[in-house]
């Protein structure tokens, strides 16, 4: 289990949140995610300790948003 906070640029509305949420949930290594519009970020929990960050970032980028950064959240 590893949790990361990903900051996202370009979200405008709930629809955007929905899109990112769906995309992240469809990513196999992601077990849980919460996307926040006001904080411009997603908190993503990965299934194992070797998180597939590339898959998660690319899932977000593919939806047309840019990723400004990410960092592990101490659990």
């Amino acid at each position: 289990m590893a949790t990361y906070q990903i900051s996202i640029d370009g979200m405008h509305c709930e629809n955007c949140v929905e899109k990112i949420q769906t995309a992240l949930n469809a990513t196999s290594s992601v077990s849980d995610c919460r996307v926040s519009l006001p904080d411009h970020r997603a908190v993503v929990t990965f299934e194992n300790d070797q998180p597939d960050l590339a898959a998660a970032v690319e899932a977000i980028q593919r939806q047309g948003f840019s990723v400004k950064g990410y960092a592990a959240v101490a659990s």
Partner: protein
């Protein structure tokens, strides 16, 4: 036709708007029309979309009228798919060919017996006694009337009478008046026993020859549009789309944004989109002119109209099935054909009064012969007047330009050159100077890593690049992407950062493989508590203006390297300029680069230093173009359409490189799809060949009429021969236009 909302949207181009208030006025005007559900107007794009719930036949006219009443100008833009359907559907052309062929057979079937009788009459009724020949004459007349009402002659006569009714002159009118005069003359002659007045056979031959001419013309026009319909045929009709978790084959216009669409080997990409799974090799020649297949994998954008050479992928549609790149290209090509060139306007003016002038000449001919001729004067006058009417050919005048423009737009589109209208191509044919805005035209416009200056920090060049690429791995910034690309080119494994944080316009920090990496400007490094080694900061001050820039890298709190980036010249730039020089076109270069850099680049390209404007701001570029346009005629500017849009509009012709996704650059008169400066030389060659053929055609059309009409009026040219000459003159114009592709090829070879 299913009636979803898309089918009932009308696209308008709206001209003359300057501000938000204009938008309001136009929208209000459009919405006030019955049947309009909604209207939205875009100020920048100068366009409007009208949602229609009911479509009366004159609906579009009313839309346009309402906009004009509001004080603006508007025109209807054709919908993409409809356009493609129109072009790919050759059933229309085949139907029209079939009709013309049938008319031709009927015309010959009726005209030949009439002609035959003309020669048989003296044999059956010897002695040339007109009274005795009357039954034969009546038979001729009956056959002639049959010809005039048959599907062969009918449309011509009806068209002529209709033109007379509306008091407009056209080709049909001249033919009709000629044929009817011959018939009436023949009728009078038969009963008055005056054989010299009888021209039944001439009337029949005129109609038959016109039918032959129309058939040949239809056949050739089909060929002339070949290039465009080939392009339109690239648009696939069906696609495999995922619906409810299952793959289904649906018509392309049913594809919606975000649909997943399957691409298989050999298929044509149906919509613009992004690959979400798999990878394919694409033949993008249709859009870029590049014949080598390109590998596209996850995350890459693909454009409609390109073909899958190998592989398999799933794309997510970026828009509806009718909003793709290919559709925009086709719409642009159509627009290009619609515009009228200066020369065409002249020809149209002449054609407008042409028919009236010819009728007047015919009447004068008839009266002159009657009054000043010998005993047979009136008979000869009739014959000569008929000849004048049928020899005159407004068709050649009318066809002179459009046939060439049509062929030109096809030839140009095949090479990825899209003029906004016919006039743009005409102007390009006259230019003498090309001003290049360097970035994005002579250079690729995307930075690349030139050199890495490693400082004494214990890391070698590859390690520095590997860490930098890791930090920039998810960056959307062009410089970040350039760094990642450089690492990939050296076959370095790009690590995933444990964390990273980027600040737009300044730099980023990241943790890569246990190292803390800071990348950015000197200020950014200092803000992150890194001491910048002054000597290592090379030409960083040029970041804003120069093509060359550098970026600093710190590892674990120490300045480790300076990475130099530049916007490299395209490999084909020098060759493209050399080709333009062979066309006797002077090259100038505008750039934001510092003088020394700019002059070095110009030297590489063979541009004289006095024709280089360095350190040019966008404002300076406008002034430069303005001054040049004032000083000399025929100035074209080539730019990327992004940073230099304003300057592009100031030149006589603005040429912009458009990327596949952005086909029509608003500011440009001519958009180039593809990434080689060679396209500019190609465009000039096409434009010049086009102008040349248009001139030839107009010269021929005018010259023909000037020579042929006196011959007809003096009686040298008998009516049937006059009709044949007329037919030949309009076919010659079409044939000449069809030479364009070969003429262009030949001239392109000459400057290679």
């Amino acid at each position: 036709m299913p009636s979803n909302s898309h089918d009932n949207a009308v696209q308008l181009r709206i001209m003359g708007m300057t501000c938000g208030a204009c938008v309001q006025r136009v929208e209000k005007a459009l919405k006030s029309i019955d049947g309009v559900r909604d209207a939205s107007v875009n100020l920048m794009a100068e366009s409007g979309t009208v949602q229609v719930s009911d479509g009366a036949p004159d609906f579009k006219t009313r839309l346009l009228e309402s906009v004009r009443n509001a004080g603006y100008d508007a025109e209807v833009l054709p919908a993409g798919r409809q356009l493609i359907a129109e072009w790919t559907d050759d059933s229309k052309l085949r139907e029209s060919l079939r009709r013309h062929r049938q008319a031709l057979i009927q015309a010959l079937g009726l005209a030949l017996p009439i002609l035959g009788l003309e020669y048989l009459l003296p044999i059956f009724w010897p002695g040339n006694d007109p009274a005795a020949q009357l039954p034969g004459r009546l038979l001729q007349l009956i056959l002639l009337i049959m010809l005039m009402v048959s599907p062969a002659g009918g449309p011509i006569i009806v068209g002529g009478l209709r033109a007379l009714w509306h008091r407009t002159g056209n080709m049909d009118l001249l033919i009709t008046v000629g044929v009817l005069s011959a018939t009436i003359g023949g009728l009078v002659g038969s009963f008055m026993t005056e054989p010299k007045l009888i021209h039944f056979h001439a009337a029949a031959m005129i109609l038959a020859i016109v039918c032959i001419g129309r058939y040949l013309e239809t056949k050739m026009r089909g060929k002339a549009t070949g290039a465009i319909s080939a392009l339109a045929k690239r648009a696939p009709k069906q696609a495999d789309v995922k619906r409810d978790g299952k793959w289904q084959t649906v018509p392309v216009d049913k594809i919606q944004r975000d649909d997943e669409v399957q691409l298989v080997e050999g298929a044509t990409v149906p919509v613009d989109g992004t690959i979400v799974d798999g990878s394919v090799e694409l033949d993008e020649q249709i859009l870029t002119g590049e014949s080598m297949p390109v590998l596209r994998d996850i995350g890459s954008n693909v454009q409609a109209g390109t073909t899958v050479v190998s592989g398999r992928a799933v794309i997510r549609a970026a828009g509806d099935g009718s909003q793709g790149t290919l559709d925009r290209m086709l719409a642009l090509i159509q627009a290009a054909q619609q515009g009228r060139t200066r020369m065409q306007r002249l020809a149209d003016q002449v054609a407008g009064i042409f028919v009236a002038v010819i009728v007047a000449i015919a009447i004068i001919t008839f009266i002159s012969w009657g009054l000043f001729g010998d005993a047979n004067g009136w008979a000869m006058g009739t014959r000569a007047a008929i000849a004048v009417l049928v020899v005159a050919c407004p068709c050649a005048l009318g066809l002179a330009t459009p046939t060439v423009t049509l062929a030109a737009s096809g030839v140009a589109a095949q090479r990825g050159i899209l003029p906004r209208d016919a006039a743009a191509l005409e102007t390009l044919g006259r230019i003498k100077t090309v001003v290049w805005d360097k970035t994005g035209t002579l250079t690729a416009g995307t930075p690349q890593v030139d050199a890495i200056h490693v400082l004494n920090s214990g890391f070698d060049e590859d390690e520095v690049l590997r860490l930098a690429a890791g930090a920039e791995r998810f960056s959307a910034h062009p410089i970040g992407k350039a760094i990642v690309r450089a690492a990939q080119q050296r076959e370095l494994e790009v690590p995933t950062p444990a964390s990273f944080d980027s600040t737009i316009g300044r730099g980023l920090t990241a943790d890569v493989d246990g190292h803390h990496v800071v990348i950015g400007s000197p200020i950014w490094l200092e803000e992150n508590d890194v001491k910048v080694e002054i000597g290592a900061v090379t030409n960083n001050r040029d970041i804003a203006t120069a093509g060359m820039s550098s970026i600093l890298l710190a590892i674990d709190g120490a300045h480790a390297a300076t990475i130099e980036l530049s916007d490299a010249l395209r490999p084909s730039a020098a060759a493209a300029l050399a080709r333009l020089k062979q066309c006797h076109i002077k090259a100038c270069m505008l750039t934001g680069d510092a003088k020394a850099t700019a002059h070095a680049v110009a030297g590489e390209l063979g541009i004289a230093t006095e024709h280089v404007e360095a350190e040019a701001t966008p404002q300076r570029k406008i002034e430069y173009i303005d001054a040049m346009v004032k000083r000399s005629s025929g100035v074209a500017m080539v730019g990327d359409g992004i940073n230099d849009a304003a300057a592009l509009t100031r030149a006589d012709v603005g040429i912009a490189f458009a990327t596949g996704a952005d086909v029509a650059v608003e500011a440009a008169d001519i958009s180039l799809i593809g990434s080689t400066p060679h396209l500019v030389a190609d465009a000039v060659v096409i434009a010049r060949a086009t102008t040349r053929l248009i001139r030839q055609n107009l010269g021929w059309a005018f010259g023909y009429n000037i020579v042929a009409i006196p011959l007809a009026a003096t009686g040298t040219l008998p009516p049937a021969l006059a009709a044949a000459a007329m037919m030949f003159s309009s076919i010659a114009v079409v044939l000449n236009a069809m030479r364009l592709p070969r003429l262009v090829d030949r001239r392109l070879e000459r400057i290679d």
